[in-house]
Amino acid sequence: MDLSAINPILFVAGFLVAATPLIFAAIGELVVEKSGTLNLGVEGMMITGAICGFATAVETGSPMLGFAAAAAGGAALSLLFVFLTQVALANQVASGLALTLFGLGLSALMGQSYVGIKPPRLPDINFGPLADIPVIGPILFTHDIILYLGIALVAATWAVLKFTRAGLILRAVGESHDAAHALGYKVVRIRTLAIMFGGACAGLGGAYISLIRVPQWTEGMTAGVGWIALALVVFASWKPWRLLLGAYLFGGITQLQLNLQGAGVAIPVEYLAMSPYLITIIVLVILSRDKSAAPACLGRTFHASS
């Protein structure tokens, strides 16, 4: 065993990066579920965002345009879900699963000519002297703008849900769409916007994998992050800050277990490999003892006549 082989600074910086795709996908889904809709298509929207972002970044040479395209791509795919569930009133679970399958297929088709290409690199933000602070500098101030955007998005979502009228309306629609409708709120329109926001976030998360974390395009490269994001929203009991904590726990322990393996720590690898899932679940379950419940209308179909 040689723990000195682990560089704590690189480790923390590494897990901030590893957790970012999860944060984007999960915060988007949190907003969707707060509006009373369950979209199981996160994985499909992520992978679509991953290829839209990758292709655009390669073609234009601009990673920022790539991220914009990823958000647009994810939101566009989510419109399919909007059509199925809000217009055609189809079952949300089935529609979400279909969206994932469709997204995986579509992205494979779109990505055929992008295998093996190196995307342009998004530069890290230059914080000047801040990056030179020992320990804290390299951990906190050597990242790209999208990583900070992810954290800002969590803060903004929390603030909007808690303090603004828009957030109150969104929650009202999610808790009782009939009451919200009776008050004159456009339930379908509000949900449509929430779903599109979720799609855009998932797309950004996917592009973060293909443009920064890996960086390359490979079919099916999100490999289940979308599903972890879905679980994370539930275990974080629909609370943005818990969600951030859960994502960092998950990302951190995932990185830590790889580091410990590399350093030859004598814990059986099977326990290390399952630890991210286990510890994240345990911590979040303990935190959610206050019985925060799901939005009451989650997954229920709304029609103005009923």
């Binding site: 082989a5 682990i6 560089n7 690189l10 480790f11 590494g14 590893a18 795709p21 995986l104 494979a108 990505g111 055929q112 295998v115 093996g116 290409i117 190196k118 994998i209 974390r213 890996v214 960086p215 390359q216 490979t218 079919e219 099916g220 490269m221 999100t222 490999a223 289940g224 992050v225 995932t254 990185q255 790889l258 580091n259 393996q261 590399g262 350093a263 030859g264 004598a266 059986p268 690898v269 099977e270 490999a273």
Partner: protein
């Protein structure tokens, strides 16, 4: 009870339909249907990509006389059983299941469809209608190990393992033996990813190994993500796994192991068409062409390249075996005496590290 009856009925009619299909085929009116079950997406750029190339070669070889079907990204375990059953019900005559974890499912499904031929890659369980096939990837690992040992400056070689199964452990041992021969100071750092395909995780594993000082990274996972991570790092050597991964040549990818399944798939399909198919166990290496060594790039010094090619030639003509004694097991007990070579049975079930590798194999 009622359900059971329904199921029996369904199975009977399915069997009937299958029977009809087989009869029709015997008349020569029907195409031979070949199914493939893949563990990753066909665009993974590695393992599944090469199996799919083999499938395309079968189509090209036999044209209208065959029809191939495939299902990609099939999880190992019960889900694969469902996919195989569906393929068999849809009239497949021959089904290739292309990952170690499909072993028991293949045997289970094969029992239910005695007239369908199955071929399982990298496993060791056979039946009258189940063959096994694999390639001696460890021969390629020997060459990688040699180049890695010569090229490392930090003397730390990182290895991304997928699952602790004999095939992967064999590769680690073979690479280690030859890296140590080339450079007695070499250390291996092994990280188990517990996945065949997860680019983000593979990239993370590669980054962790690089952060911990590795300047050569070998991978036994299927995607090209570790290559991208090495390219980012700038001064890290990698090898293509299962496929050439030449998009990362000449550096970081300095060589590769290429699986060439096409001749085998064509031969086995032909055997089904001719009615000469029997259950066999095939394990071919560099000599038979099932394992190819991708071009050694100019990033490798000329003398090292020459040594690697000589090693390849001696493995190909059988004058040298990658597991030749004297070798001890990790715990110091003797494994092979001077000049002795490992037999196939030992290799097939290999579950120990050779002396010098640190750490334990997850059990």
């Amino acid at each position: 009870m009622g359900n059971e009856m329904k199921l029996t009925k369904l199975l009977t009619s399915a069997a009937l339909a299958l029977g009809l299909a087989t009869t029709a085929m015997a008349d020569g009116h029907e195409k031979t249907k070949v199914g493939f079950v893949f563990v990753g997406p066909i665009g993974d750029g590695g393992w599944t990509y090469e199996h799919n190339k083999g499938r395309l070669a079968v189509e090209e070889e036999f044209g209208d006389k065959v029809e191939t079907v495939f299902v990609e990204s099939v999880a190992e375990g019960p889900d694969s059983e469902r996919v195989m059953t569906q393929m068999a019900l849809d009239g497949a005559d021959l089904i290739f299941t292309t990952s170690f974890g499909y072993m028991d499912p293949t045997i289970n499904v094969a029992k239910k469809f005695p007239d369908v031929k199955f071929e399982h890659a990298t496993g060791y369980k056979r039946a009258d209608n189940v063959s096994t096939y694999s390639a001696r990837f460890y021969e390629g690992r020997a060459i990688q190990g040699h180049i890695a040992g010569k090229m490392t400056k930090s003397n730390i070689i990182g290895y991304i393992g997928s699952y602790p199964i004999p095939e992967v452990i064999r590769g680690i041992n073979s690479a280690f033996i030859h890296a140590r021969k080339a450079n007695p100071d070499v250390q291996f750092k092994i990280v188990w990813a517990y996945t065949w395909f997860d680019p983000a995780k593979e990239a993370d594993a590669a980054k962790v190994l690089i952060e911990q000082g590795a300047d050569v990274v070998l991978q036994h996972t299927d995607s090209t993500a570790p290559q991208a991570a090495a390219q980012e790092a700038g001064n890290v050597v990698t090898f293509g796994q299962a496929s050439d991964m030449s998009q990362y040549a000449p550096f970081p990818r300095v060589s590769s192991i290429i699986d060439d399944w096409a001749p085998y798939y064509i031969a086995r399909t032909k055997a089904v068409m001719d009615g000469t198919w029997t259950s066999t166990d095939t394990w071919d290496g560099i000599g038979a062409g099932m394992v190819g060594i991708g071009e050694i790039s100019d990033a490798v010094p000329a003398d090292v390249k020459a040594e690697a090619l000589a090693l390849k030639a001696s493995l190909a003509d059988g004058s040298y075996h990658a597991f030749t004694g004297p070798l001890n097991k990790q715990d110091g007990t003797p494994f092979l005496a001077e000049g002795e070579t490992a037999d196939d049975g030992t290799l097939a079930g290999m579950n120990f590290y050779v002396e010098g590798i640190e750490g334990d194999i997850p059990q």
